[in-house]
Symmetry: C2
Subunit: 494 residues, 2 copies
C-alpha cells in the first residue's frame, strides 16, 4: 500500500489547500470589507494555483500510476484513484497556455456580458461568446469524447453522462411539460396571500428554525447573509449556509434556507472517513442539486409540510395568521409561464433548462452559430412556454453561465429535479408513513435515510451507480412527471 | 534587478500564503463552529508549513544572496532583503528535528500549564518549564549572540534590542515607579462610579463609534466579538478588529476598542506600496504596542478625551449621565497594586513586566533554576508592589507566555508604553494645540501625523531607527515617568 499511502498524503495536501481557498471564498461573499477585494483575488488565485499545480503535476501522474499498478482492494480507495485520475487526465489535456487563454477570455466575456445584459445588447456580447464557444470546443477536443464534444463538457459536472443519454429524457420531459402546462391553464389558480412587509429578522429566525427542523447541525456550520445564497464546506465538520431576504416575501428566504440546507445536509452527512480524500463532495452537481430540491420542493412545497409549518409561519408573521395551511400550500405552488429561469416555478423551470440544453449542444456540435442564438431562444420560448421575451436581457442574455465558459452545466439543475423525484418515490416506499412524518414535523428519520443512501457515500459512486443503488433504476423523467401531474392537478383543481 | 525581482516574486508567494493563514486564524477565533476545529488545525498547519518551507528554503538563501550581490539602491528594497534575511537566517539555524521538538514540548507544556494554573500547582508545571527553558537556551545558542543568549530571543520581537540595553532602562523605570507608587498611597483615590448593568449592544455601539472617532476605516476592516480581543490584517486593505464585552463594565470594552483600534490604524496606514513585500507589518512588537497604548492610554485615559467623550458615554449609558467628565477620568485612572498583570493600571503594569524581564533573563543566562522561580516571583511582588501572591496561580503561573516558549516577549508590553509616551511628547510639540484637538474630538490630524511618522513606514526601519527619526532620541523611560507623575499626581491630588 506504499504507493496508495503516498497518493493519499498528496491528495490530503491538495484538499487542505482547497479548503483554505473555500474559506477565502466564503469570507469574500459574507464578511469581507470592500477594501479587501483586490488582495483577496490574489490570495485566492495563489491557493488555486498551488492546488492546481499539484493536481496536474508529473508527481500526481506517477502516484496514480503506481497506485493503480499496486491495486486497491477497498472500494473507497478505487474511487479515490478514479476521481483523481479523471481530474488529472482532464486538466493535463489542456496546455497551460490554452487554459490561461480560457481564463482570460471568460473573465473578459463575463464582464462584457454584464454590460450587454444591462443594455440588452446581444451584438456587444456576441463576439465574446463566439470566442468562448470556440475555446470550449477546442478544449472538448483535447479532452476527447466518443460521440459528441458536449460529452467531454458535461462530464465535468455529471460524470458518465452524455448528450445522447440526456436527449431522449429531456425531450420527453419537454413534450410532457408543454402539454401539461396547457392543461393547467384550464385550472383554478390560487389566490394571493396578504402582502405587506415581513421583517427581515423574523425571516432569519424562521429560516434558522427551518434548518433546525431538517436537522442542519449548527455545531458544524453557520448561517449568514449573502447576496447570492450558497452553501460551502470549509472543512469536514464545518459546512456553511448563506441566505438572502426580501422584505416583501417571506417564502423566498424560507425556500432558500431549505434549498441550501439540503445541500448542507449532504456535506454534513458524508462519512468522516472520506475527509481529506477528495471524495467528501457530492457524487455530481445533479445529485447535489437533488438534495437541495428534495427539501425545498418535494418536502417544503408539499401539502403535509404546510400542515406542520403553518403555525410557525403565523407565529413569525402575524399578518398570515388569517390564512390556512392550504392557502399557503397553494400560494407557494403557483404556476405561471415566465421569462426568467431563476424565478420559474417547478413546472416551467425545466422547460427553461431544456431550451438551454438544446441550444448549447447545437452550439458545441457546430450546428448553430452564435449569431442565431437570440432567434432560436425566442422561438423556443414561444414554443415551450407560449411567451416571447421583449428583449435579449429577458432572453438569451439572462444567465451568466455561457460567458463564464460553463457549457454543460445547465442540465445539472433539471437532473436535480428528476433525481429528487426519483429519490422521493423510493423514500415513500421505504420509509413507513412517510407523509405522516412530514405532517408531524418528524424529519429526522427522513434525513437519516438520505444520509444512509446518499450523503455518507460522498463521491464513492458515480451518479448513475448511486441512483441505481437507491432507486433500482437509472435517470428517468417519469417520477418527476408523475409528481408534478399529481400535485399541480390538485393545486389547480383540474 | 533580475535577482531582486525574483526575490520579490518569491516573497509575494509567501505573503499570499501567510494571509490565507491569517484569515483562517481570524475565522477560527470569531465565526468558526466547534465542529470545524480539528480540521482547521490541519489547514492552518498546512499553510504554515507551505510558508515556512519557503522561508527557510535553499532557494530563499540563493535569492537573498543574489539580490545582495546585485545591490539594491532603494531603501525599501534594502529593508526587504534585511527582513527576509534575518528571518531566513534565524530559522535555518534551528534544525527541523529541534524545531519539531520545540513545537511538541511547548504544546505539551501549555496544556500542562493550564491544569497547573487551575490547580495552583507549580510542581506539576516545573519539569515542563525546565524543558522549555533548556530548549530555548539551545535555540539561542544556535541562532547566536554577542553578549547574552537572551539577545537572540528578544531579537524575534524587538530587532536590535539586547538585555544590556534594556537592563538600565527597565531598572530606572522600576526604581522610579516603586517610589512613585509609595507617594501615590498618600493621595486621594477616586470614588466609584454608579454600577449596574451596561447592555452589550450599547457597548458594541459605543466601541464602533469610538473606532470611528479615531479614524478606523470600516471599509477596510470590521469589528467582531472574540474571547480574547485581537487585531489581524488578513490583506492589505482588510485589517480586522475584535473585542469582548462584560455587562458590569462599559470601560474595559471601550479601552479594548481603542487599544485594538490603535493596532489596526497601524495596519491600515502602511504604505500600499509595501503590500506583498513582508514589510507591511509593524517595525516591532513594541512599536506596534505603542500605537495601541497611544490611543488606549495617552488619549483614551486623558482628561481632555473625557471632556469630549462623556456626553457620548452618557447617551449610551443613561445611568452614567449623573457623573461628570472628571469623575469618569478619575475612575478610569484608579491606581491599585494588584496581583494580575492583565488587570493592572498604567502605573503598576510595568512593574509586573520588570519582574518578568529580570526573571527570564536570569533563567536564560542560567543564573536561576526553574525551581527558584516561585520564591523569586513572590519576593519581587513584595519588593515592587508591596503585595504577596496567596498562591502560584496568582503569581508565577498566571501567564501563558513561558509555557509557549515565548521568552523575550514580555518587554514588548513595556516598550509599547515607553514608546507611546515618547511619541506623545513629540506629538505635543509637533501638532499645534494637540490637547485642544483631543478635547474637541478632532482626532484626524493626530492620526494623520501618526500615519506619516509611524504607520506608513511598516517594517522599513528598525525600531530604534524609527523612534530616533520620530523623537530625535532612542528608547527612554523619562517621557513615560514624566507622564505618569503628572497625570496620576493630578488624579490622586498629590
Amino acid at each position: 500500500m506504499a504507493a496508495l499511502d503516498e497518493l493519499k498524503d498528496y491528495v490530503r495536501e491538495i484538499t487542505e489547500i482547497s479548503l483554505a481557498a473555500a474559506l477565502a471564498a466564503w469570507d469574500q461573499r459574507t464578511h469581507m470589507p470592500p477594501g479587501g477585494a483586490a488582495a483577496r483575488a490574489k490570495v485566492a488565485g495563489r491557493l488555486e494555483r498551488l492546488a492546481f499545480e499539484r493536481r496536474v503535476s508529473d508527481r500526481m501522474g506517477e502516484l496514480l500510476a503506481a497506485a493503480e499498478r499496486e491495486g486497491a482492494p477497498a472500494e473507497v480507495d478505487r474511487a479515490l484513484i478514479r476521481v483523481w485520475k479523471r481530474d488529472h487526465t482532464r486538466h493535463r489535456a489542456i496546455p497551460p497556455a490554452l487554459y490561461q487563454k480560457f481564463v482570460e477570455t471568460t473573465t473578459r466575456a463575463e464582464s462584457v456580458w454584464e454590460k450587454a445584459k444591462a443594455a440588452s445588447d446581444f451584438a456587444l456580447f456576441r463576439p465574446h461568446l463566439a470566442e468562448v464557444v470556440d475555446l470550449v470546443r477546442e478544449i472538448a477536443n483535447l479532452i476527447g469524447y466518443k460521440e459528441s464534444p458536449y460529452d467531454a463538457l458535461v462530464e465535468e459536472y455529471e460524470p458518465g453522462l452524455t448528450a445522447s443519454a440526456l436527449r431522449p429524457i429531456l425531450g420527453e420531459l419537454r413534450r410532457e411539460l408543454v402539454a401539461f402546462l396547457k392543461e393547467l391553464e384550464r385550472g383554478t389558480h390560487p389566490r394571493e396571500l396578504p402582502g405587506g412587509k415581513f421583517p427581515l429578522d423574523a425571516q432569519r429566525a424562521l429560516c434558522r428554525q427551518a434548518l433546525g427542523w431538517i436537522g442542519y447541525d449548527f455545531q458544524a456550520g453557520r448561517l449568514d447573509d449573502a447576496v447570492h445564497p450558497f452553501t460551502i464546506g470549509v472543512a469536514p465538520g464545518d459546512v456553511r449556509v448563506t441566505n438572502r431576504y426580501r422584505e416583501e416575501d417571506p417564502f423566498s428566504s424560507l425556500f432558500g434556507a431549505l434549498h441550501e440546507g439540503g445541500h448542507a445536509l449532504y456535506g454534513q452527512g458524508v462519512d468522516p472517513a472520506l475527509a481529506w480524500t477528495g471524495l467528501a463532495g457530492g457524487a455530481s452537481f445533479g445529485i447535489h442539486e437533488s438534495q437541495a430540491r428534495f427539501w425545498e420542493n418535494q418536502i417544503g412545497r408539499s401539502r403535509p409540510f404546510w400542515q406542520f409549518a403553518h403555525p410557525h409561519l403565523a407565529q413569525h408573521f402575524p399578518t398570515l395568521a388569517s390564512t390556512d395551511p392550504d392557502d399557503v400550500w397553494r400560494h407557494v405552488n403557483r404556476v405561471q409561464a415566465s421569462l426568467i429561469r431563476v424565478e420559474a416555478d417547478e413546472v416551467t423551470y425545466n422547460l427553461h433548462i431544456c431550451l438551454r440544453f438544446e441550444l448549447e449542444v447545437d452550439m458545441v456540435e457546430g450546428r448553430i452559430a452564435v449569431d442565431d442564438l437570440p432567434a432560436r431562444w425566442n422561438q423556443a420560448m414561444e414554443d415551450y412556454l407560449g411567451i416571447a421575451p421583449p428583449d435579449d436581457a429577458h432572453g438569451v442574455l439572462q444567465d451568466v453561465h455561457w460567458s463564464a465558459g460553463m457549457i454543460g452545466y445547465f442540465p445539472s439543475y433539471t437532473l436535480g429535479n428528476l433525481y429528487a423525484a426519483q429519490i422521493t418515490e423510493t423514500a415513500e416506499r421505504e420509509i413507513p408513513r412517510f407523509w405522516d412524518k412530514v405532517e408531524a414535523g418528524q424529519f429526522s428519520p427522513i434525513r437519516e435515510w438520505l444520509r444512509e443512501v446518499v450523503h455518507r457515500h460522498g463521491q464513492v459512486y458515480l451518479p448513475d451507480e448511486l441512483v441505481r443503488r437507491i432507486t433500482g433504476d437509472g435517470l428517468s423523467a417519469e417520477p418527476f412527471l408523475n409528481y408534478v401531474r399529481a400535485k399541480y392537478g390538485e393545486v389547480c383543481r383540474l
